[in-house]
Amino acid sequence: MSISKEIELRFCSDVGLVDLLQEFSDSVSKAAGFDADGQYWIGLAVREAVTNAILHGNKEDRSKVVELAFGICEDRLRIVVRDQGKGIDESKIPDPLDPKNLLKAGGRGIFFVRSFMDSVKFRSRPEGGQELIMEKLRSQKNQGEQE
């Protein structure tokens, strides 16, 4: 999995930035050859992951930084979202499809990320903070006719 292009963004924990970042994700996934649908779903996953990093990870503390890294690899697009928060206990994420959660207002962000990406991992970083690593394969299926 050699990385051919790498771009990393760092920004303050301001939820007003998510539109920008989603648009940037669209540009990157387009450059990686994903078609309009692919760009849309990847962009939504990025939006959800970044929103979580800002709200839940950094608790909107504007002095805390979120990092969003894109790696266009030969066979996949790799996206990493880092925050300076305490991290997430995956076993405690409620299932939004559980009938008792179906009518809750929240709790669908990570589910969206998992639905739209091919792989999703959480990792607490040795230097503090947490990292969400998500990948989407640049398979035929996700790509437009002409790249």
Binding site: V15, V18, D19, R47, E48, L102, A105, G106, R108, F111
Partner: protein, 112 residues
């Protein structure tokens, strides 16, 4: 996001324009719906035809508007789902929760 309000056959139709997302004043629908309930208008149809983007926070907004209306004995239905919104409601199993229509006349008739 902007919301235009109109009435037809005793149903309040909210024409929603733009994004229903975090940051984009996503609480505005809930607020509008609450105001309508307070005014005794319990039949509400959300016209989603001009909604350009919905994220998980926007879905949450729709769900909590729905539960608020239902809890007060009203009806909240959806009109003109975009293809993407339909997919989002499908994977979150909310497509069976919401009554949704592609035709306004049909949607209005369903409240009768």
């Amino acid at each position: 996001m902007t919301i235009d309000t109109r009435t037809a056959n005793g149903v309040t139709i909210l024409d929603i324009h733009g994004k229903i997302t975090i940051g984009e004043g996503s609480a505005e629908i809930r607020k509008t719906v609450r105001d309508l309930l307070q005014a005794g208008r319990k039949n509400i149809l959300l016209n989603m035809g001009d909604v350009s983007y919905v994220d998980s926070s926007g879905i949450g907004e729709l769900v909590s508007s729905y539960t608020t209306v239902t809890n007060q004995g009203g009806d909240l239905k959806l009109l003109n789902l975009t293809k993407k919104l339909q997919e989002l409601l499908a994977i979150t199993k909310l497509l069976t929760v919401f009554d949704s229509y592609d035709d306004e006349a049909e949607a209005l008739a369903s409240f009768a």
